[in-house]
Point group: C2
Chain length 203, copies 2
Amino acid sequence: MELENRRSAGRRTGDSGTRAAILAAAREQFAGKGYDGASLRVIAAAAGVDTGLIRHFYGSKDDLFDAALQIPQEIAHRMGQVFTGDPDHYGARLVEAYLSLWEDPASSGALLAIVRSAIASDRAADRLQAILGARFLADISPHLDDTDGHTRAALAGAHLLGVAIARYVVHASPVADMDRDALVAWCAPTVQRYLTAPPPAPA
Amino acid sequence: MELENRRSAGRRTGDSGTRAAILAAAREQFAGKGYDGASLRVIAAAAGVDTGLIRHFYGSKDDLFDAALQIPQEIAHRMGQVFTGDPDHYGARLVEAYLSLWEDPASSGALLAIVRSAIASDRAADRLQAILGARFLADISPHLDDTDGHTRAALAGAHLLGVAIARYVVHASPVADMDRDALVAWCAPTVQRYLTAPPPAPA
DNA sequence: GCAGGAATTCCACGTGTGAGGAGTTCAGGC
DNA sequence: GCCTGAACTCCTCACACGTGGAATTCCTGC
């Protein structure tokens, strides 16, 4: 009988969106479970695809991860345009831009994946430091005071990271439930002070 | 010959610190790699002990994890004593107490483990929310304004969480390298404002 | 219309995991 | 001096993982 359970092997006709389906499923899994928690088999199943295809299209799991982390240039550089116009509104615009990065479907998955994976273990922590550190600090600190610009940018960044984790990763109330405008209203002045207020007097 | 590689089985004489050794090794592994990343075999090896003993003393991996998360009462309630004396220094004392919690060897491992594990996946996120949320908010918000005490406590908490992650988890410069006093000097005013300053005007 | 390569299938390997259980030795209560 | 139970070692099971490769089918360029 040679039982015919096998879905016919071989190339499909037309443009099967396999490659894209894999990437989308990978984004979702990495975002939800981090690098270690996501498995190629589950990603393949979610994409409705054989595991071997992942290897075929993307190579190793690491390569897939890198591909999943790509954020469209146009979106990534939204942060760079915060520092235009009235310096009194840097804070509000930074918070706005940062939150919208976390809420835009084109970037939210990648951010979740980075944060989840980087915080999970010592080894992966460099990645977060490299990406958020390098990009975020580099984009921001040139616009600030020379002497402590890095400190200011880092503290503002740490604050925003904390808010993002509470709101988008852990879903901790009340930060996760707050009206977005209210959140901005609360945080903007704080960020503004970190960026431009006089440095603290030593204790 | 019946080769005698086996370390003699059976009970050791005297008080072998096995139970404590397992717990210490577990703390270290969970702190460094999170729940999923830590393996019972590695923990057992680090403790110089057979894997079966973990099961013998603590039951399942989950039970071990719970045991590793216990923070001495006396240390946990250090946070409760922040809100005494001059309200103008709530911020500074909160930041001080929080950082010392992260630096005290008796609690730092548990905090690292909680944060690493909770952020790693959706499933475990409740734990962080439960522990940090319930304990932190409950300890703090009673001391604040009735109408938005929860919001104030949560935002201050999110900020401190972000700073702790940057400094103690990811080791991102410059927050990780800053002098501790300088860090307090920068953050205390911000936290103070979250706790007691007038609420923001709606945009 | 034929050849080469891309897309697809399934199978196998080696490793690591948490869990469970069988057997051995010793401490402490009676 | 025995006997229960705690501490201890070893072995096994069933599963999941990432990787690799063989075989098949179809598209595309010539």
